[in-house]
Amino acid sequence: MKVFVPCDSAALSVGADSVARAIEEIATVKGLDVTVVRNGSRGMLWLEPLVEVETSAGRVGYANVSANAVATLIDSGMLEGAQLPASIGIVDNHEWLTRQNRVTFARVGISDPQCITEYESLGGWAGLRKALTMTGEDVVADVTDSGLRGRGGAGFPAGIKWKTVVNATADQKYVCCNADEGDSGTFADRMLMEGDPFTLIEGMTIAGIAVGATRGFIYIRSEYPHAITAMNTAIAKAQEKGFLGDNVDGSGKEFHLDVRVGAGSYVCGEETAMLESLEGKRGTVRPKPPIPALVGLFGKPTIINNVMTLAAVPMIMAQGAAAYQALGHEKSRGTQVFQLAGNIKQGGIVEIDFGITLGDLIDGFGAGTHTGKPIKTVQIGGPLGAYVGTEAWPTPMAYESLAATGAMLGHGGIVVFDDSVNMAAQARFAMEFCAEESCGKCTPCRIGSTRGVEVIDRIVAGDEQSKNLELLEDLCEVMTDGSLCAMGGLTPLPVRSALKLFPADFNIVSGGK
């Protein structure tokens, strides 16, 4: 009998390893024929550790299992799928999952992520095999036709980037996967790397073969030790089975893949800083042009894409560009892997077509706050994203519709705060974070952010408030206009939105003084 206990690090953080051990120990003592499979997480993180038991009716789930409770659960019939207070029924029928449209995350949580044969039986390598029968130009055309846009934040069409690289002539080209995922409130890249690493390998291999790049790198932040191990293990297996190396799946084509590890720098998620870091240097931002697609890693033409962008490619190849293009909202095609985070009752992964409203995500999927208090604000798109209030609930979640409201989708992280949050503290933090993580190249970002902290402190203290409010506005303008990258350029977004929506938190006396 198969019992599933997730190996995802979010599940580990609430005790999944000791649950798995307890089940194995008790099964041994009782002489039960139990195989514990360490699957990825289903993304219903508030239910972790979520134990699943295989039954003839499907996989029955037991939520928030602790190691101490395992003996009692087994005595009460958990291994037979009994109806118990902890059970959530057949997991595949859970409304949280049935309402989603899992495309990129289709395999995450189903099986042992490191089992390469299971990967194949769940549809893995079909996209690569299809791509191997096509010309590079045709693969790129499919990616363009699918409407796939970059999931790292900017939403740039992936096909256009790839086309630039395929058309470039060079003795060496590269594919670099941006797995720096530094935005607070985001964890989709991590969960995919831990929960379905072969999909990322397949997507990168397709990219490499399509544009003629024989080497690839995955740049993973050091805060993700489990993802680093998962990717390294999976790469070794893919090599052994011939899906990576000098002769990819017997095609005679070459693609080699390696992991590189960051070292605690947020700005290294910016693509040119990432290239510098991949070259072993300080992570300072390069001016553009030249664009990395032409002058990238070691000066060579380079595809840089986010994990989610590259992981969408196998499905696009296997099921056709039209199938992906058919999903979505206006110019945002396909599905988005939203991440519900912060003070939320039901946090986790919601993959669904673009266009779902913010309110539906937060109330429908998220079910309000974890603390049970009213929601005050939500930050969308990471530390450089805007704070919005509940008036934004009807906004369709897509690139253009969010931009129209002055917000941005970023990497799809949504962080919920209850009414105990002080927005002046959040604005101050945004400036502090910028000061801490600035690469140092531009004065507005490096120095302006430190000034920003001081000015916010003076505003809150009621010190020459109207003068300092003006100063903050000036500072925000200089940062927006005078920064080379979005680190300094977008830090004003959370600051201004917090001030605009919640002036009372800044102790603003109307009329100033």
Binding site: S222, V261, A263, Y266, A341, G342, G347, F429, E436
Partner: protein, 153 residues
């Protein structure tokens, strides 16, 4: 404590010989071997990668992961980024400070050292932390110190 055998380090770093693009990897290698990057290791890296000491030093200081002094027996990393703030990480940090563990000074007390991190990718189960690399969700000062004492015992 800062003793290491130069020859051992040279052997560890051998794959990076003559490779100027390997500075960051070499620093990681040294830190994973010794727990920190002693000043004299910068010279070994410079020589191995065939770059100046200044270049190695520049990389070493840019990245917050690298430490110049040995870590405590147990290092607790607490996430202080927004999603964890929404779940009370400011309070966890304050509670830890009240017990002598300051994320800014990072002073070790009884073999335990507490540091801050910006997002550990566990933003739905915050406050998130790592105790010597072991992930902990829904953290409190008590749960972290209990886990840390277990490790540093």
């Amino acid at each position: 404590m800062t003793q290491f055998v130069v020859e051992d380090l040279e052997r560890t770093l051998a794959p990076f010989r003559g490779d100027a693009s390997a500075i960051l990897r070499a620093l990681h290698e040294v830190q994973s071997e010794l727990g920190f990057v002693p000043d004299s290791a910068l010279d070994v890296i410079a020589k191995t990668c065939n770059v100046s000491r200044a270049e190695v030093y520049g990389v070493f200081t840019f990245y917050s992961d690298f430490r110049a002094t040995p870590p405590a027996a147990c290092v607790v990393k607490v996430c202080v980024a927004e999603a964890c703030q929404a779940n009370g990480s400011r309070e966890v940090v304050a509670d830890l400070k009240a017990q002598g563990y300051d994320v800014h000074t990072r002073k070790a007390v009884d073999g335990i050292q507490v540091e801050q991190a910006f997002c550990l990718g566990n933003c739905a189960l915050g406050p998130a932390a790592f105790v010597n690399g072991q992930p902990i969700g829904r953290a409190t000062a008590e749960s972290l110190l209990a886990a840390a004492r277990e490790v540093s015992k």
